[in-house]
Symmetry: C2
Subunit: 296 residues, 2 copies
Amino acid sequence: MSDLGTIGEDKLIALITAQSPLRDNVLIGPGDDCAVLKNANRDDYTLLKTDSIIEGVHYLPSADPYWVGWKAAARVVSDFAAMAGTPDAIVIALSLKKETAVSYVTDLYRGIHACAEAYAFSVVGGETSCSSQNMLTVSGTGKCTTPITRSAAQAGHALYLTGKIGGSIQGKHLTFTPRVDEAQWLVKHTTLSAMMDLSDGLAKDLPRLAKLSNVGYDVDLATLPLNDGCSIKNGISDGEDYELLLACACELTPQQLIQWSEAFPEVQLTKIGHCTTGSRTELTGGWEHFTTDSDD
Amino acid sequence: MSDLGTIGEDKLIALITAQSPLRDNVLIGPGDDCAVLKNANRDDYTLLKTDSIIEGVHYLPSADPYWVGWKAAARVVSDFAAMAGTPDAIVIALSLKKETAVSYVTDLYRGIHACAEAYAFSVVGGETSCSSQNMLTVSGTGKCTTPITRSAAQAGHALYLTGKIGGSIQGKHLTFTPRVDEAQWLVKHTTLSAMMDLSDGLAKDLPRLAKLSNVGYDVDLATLPLNDGCSIKNGISDGEDYELLLACACELTPQQLIQWSEAFPEVQLTKIGHCTTGSRTELTGGWEHFTTDSDD
């Protein structure tokens, strides 16, 4: 009898989502950054997402609780951004050891509330329970007029990254900035065809987007926008970048790139390659195993 | 420095919800059975809820995983029912020990999906993570045209219960039937003013409704609809009944009661008392301490 330690997450998810009951108002079900629900008699959509962070896995016991709270909320905001949506309201299920200091919890909430103020959403409820392991599950709704999925990139579409990648363990994995405004700009000003946020690193996430879009990719590793002190290996494998990976049907014109840099002077937008036919994947720039794990 | 073990859940929740950022579209924030969000340009509402169940707290390791899954989903459905709403879509955050059998997880999902079929909602995503304690957090959206809160009962309003109470530990706490159709009937056919679902037992939950409505109550314990083999103490203290407690401005007429029993022949609707002015609470029928804990 197989257990969760041997089957692996991807197979497990395939198993349990195969039979998901989906009603007529579901535009996008399991498998993308968020679920997307049609709204009756309206031309916009409701996004729905849940996401957990666990002490010892997603943050250390010594991490500042303010930034733990920020991270828990911002991860969900980043998923809304990845659909070209905006957050609306969240609820929080907190599981905490009973010896947790009350001040730790109020600091967690200061971080959650700071994220809510920064991204203009509400914190409308939740629940707390005592458990043997500290964990925060943030769930919420977002809004979207033109949902951008992972599955509509086509051969020839150009691939871009927002910001820089690699080295998030130095602190960015807690303090990152979800790219909500950037995604809104992209959906309005470009021929954006597919998008996702980078949570597991480009080496794992790009193949996921490519697989769902049924395309290959050709990436020039020499173009990757790396954080200071990061190797290409760090850049593609460290994970938790929370930057946007996106495909555009047409390359951005010089004028569009100038407009971008005026709108977001501190966030670069970098072309890293393009989508190809079939499952062909090519990498130039010297990295041997694109899909390497960060620990090999 | 106080910790969670000493401050207690009610004080903690008061502390962390006092500063909740609430935007203009929030009709009901923290503190009721669900949050209620206004929909732009429409006269209906979106409900939002999150709820966790933890192995060893809400179910035993030996419990049938099908019913554990059912319970995790049905608790959220019951909260939607308590606002006179219906479920729309849920997402599931699963935290499981890595030695958990894959068949256990697929059985959990059979129960979740059965609940989705029974109550016509979608299961649109989620995530799984490995942890040291098994836990399911179900979050989701519901729909509602006339939200019924806990806070609008007034002195003189009659108090009713659906179904029977007590003894849920015998199995009903896993296999219960959320009262969605019953709540829809009540909001349509009666002068329903306030409602909640009974999760912690009448002795704890009625004072919560009364406090939020700023009323007292007078309950005749001799009228309580008890499950077979249950004492009054069981009835008011066992908890996990998942029945509806409701207030109506006018008592139901004999004709309304007949209509109810035709619509729901297997679910009785019992008048147990009425709301009073101020915080006056009276109990007739012989029970000494209404707010007793189940373990005293």
